[in-house]
Assembly symmetry: C2
Homo-oligomer: 367 residues x 2
Amino acid sequence: MQPVSFSRRLRRTPFTQGVEAAGVKGYTVYNHMLLPIVFESPESDYRHLKDHVQVWDVSCERQVELVGPDAGRLMQFMTPRDLRGMKEDQCFYAPIVDAAGGMLNDPVAVKRDDNRWWISIADSDLLLWVKGLAQGLMLDVSVREPDVSPLAVQGPLAGELMARVFGDQVRDIRFFRYKVLQFGRATFVVARSGYSKQGGYEIYVEGGENGMPLWHALFEAGRDLNVRAGCPNLIERIEGGLLSYGNDVTMDDNPFECGLGKFCNLSDDVDYIGKDALRRVRDQGPKRMIRPIAIDGPAIAGPSEPWSLFSGTQRVGQITSAAWSPDFGTMVSIGMVETTHFGAGTELNVETPDGSRLAIVQDAYWT
Amino acid sequence: MQPVSFSRRLRRTPFTQGVEAAGVKGYTVYNHMLLPIVFESPESDYRHLKDHVQVWDVSCERQVELVGPDAGRLMQFMTPRDLRGMKEDQCFYAPIVDAAGGMLNDPVAVKRDDNRWWISIADSDLLLWVKGLAQGLMLDVSVREPDVSPLAVQGPLAGELMARVFGDQVRDIRFFRYKVLQFGRATFVVARSGYSKQGGYEIYVEGGENGMPLWHALFEAGRDLNVRAGCPNLIERIEGGLLSYGNDVTMDDNPFECGLGKFCNLSDDVDYIGKDALRRVRDQGPKRMIRPIAIDGPAIAGPSEPWSLFSGTQRVGQITSAAWSPDFGTMVSIGMVETTHFGAGTELNVETPDGSRLAIVQDAYWT
């Protein structure tokens, strides 16, 4: 850990004041914005997330808003996922790829209506890709980053806390669906989603001035629920197999390699950038795939640069995220492995700063 | 200052090993990559930069490479700057704007030849804009981020140090020109440029494996010159009026407002995105402009969010960068001021965390 200094270029959020009062111990930078990464410690934040309920400042999940007659057409043209039949209360995990099938982002698309979409993005300036396409294709759509900052409520008691603030109707929201709900004089998109496997909601807070009132309301309502400020937890997200763009996935990887083949419609029914490339990948089969991998031995810090995986002397992949799991008593990790060596139970060696260790490909994530 | 943790998403550079051995005390994140921000202290780094010579890891100035028959056409279509007549050894500061004239980046364009360009970018994923345009316009050009990491040599003794490593021919390189020079078995673009006003060079190091050998060669050759590891210095760059994208300039600002009108060709001779919008700005005159502003009173930390400028009770602008200047004995700053109040000598009030202070618009930067 090294200090990062604040500047306008590393944007504060509507909730930064609350995050700091809650004793944040570190930030990362994500979409040119501050993202808290630890409050007490990764391990105690993890324990609390799994047992109670947390409020996360994930404002850095910025929105790219598409508005206009061509919004739906452009949205479909950017993703292999078939968006036909998507309802006006749905959120879709929608990989965005370039002409070579490389992943540019792995956002959640939020359909407000046929002519208005939000793309809730991972860490790349997808706004510029969308603007560039709209410009080049001369589409009738306006593209901008609106004043919308997601606040996540995650953990087993998330439903209870959310019901106290937004009413019992939150319990009826299905997974990856949303309702537009009232808070004071404001209305927010409230979705059943989030970057953890503990269940919960994401509130798309429109209007920065509404941020701290909502933050305070959640903490007041949740006092007896032991609500705390939290953040995406490295350990929990690896256990659950939640990918991190920039870490586990880059522009050099295609959706099939990332295990996202199920989101790729390769039929003639939909047309989008990269379809020809993805058809070739499907026909030939991906050469490598992201896998859950257990690493033998005691706890060590995860990789700041990928750790190479070997079968004997042959390099067959790399590990991009790793952490010690208190619940599973092992180093859990996510890596990209050549398909020749990706079967469950395959024993590999991983080169870590702590030396070579046994790494065993798993059949499933740790949930 | 808060800690930032390392991950693959916050990329290390070919020089990070050298930077850490030199005792870096803090990083920022720039183009998803580590950028050192302090070695001894901002003040002593500043003093040393102005008196001696420093080596800067500015790998985060990533390149967007355009290669192909349409490379030159696309490059011109993206910038208001007239690129006709640009030679194959020239670098041009070339604002990139969208259809509304808003600044998407303020990079340096490096012409390798008619069909091959590098865009040395500020902090936004310009790669995605260029790829999106190329895709939408169906141009015959490949767009990628090559393995090129700039290393800057800055300070009054930069010429002497560079001559010792690259030969006396570096002294013949003119401002914003480059030569392709040998280093061991590698060849690098070596340009007379850099993000300081102290003079110097930027070496576009191609091939990460060449990074540390060059780093070591510079430090060995410069031992008696008191060479040190350094980084862009907040104080020095404000004194010199070097703008910071994301801080002083955003997508909401156009080139005229940023004082870059001289780089905008509005004639019929060249065609580019945003020309109509920029013509309207020229015809109506910009409503606000970036100005150097001196702030009264003792040293305080610069803004992490813009400080508002007032004339009486009327808000007339904001300050986006500020620092105490040891050489000029005042707080130096950069701000955007409405043209009704931007004349040299205009007295305004600035709201700082330390209270309201007198702020005086200057006629020129502090050089």
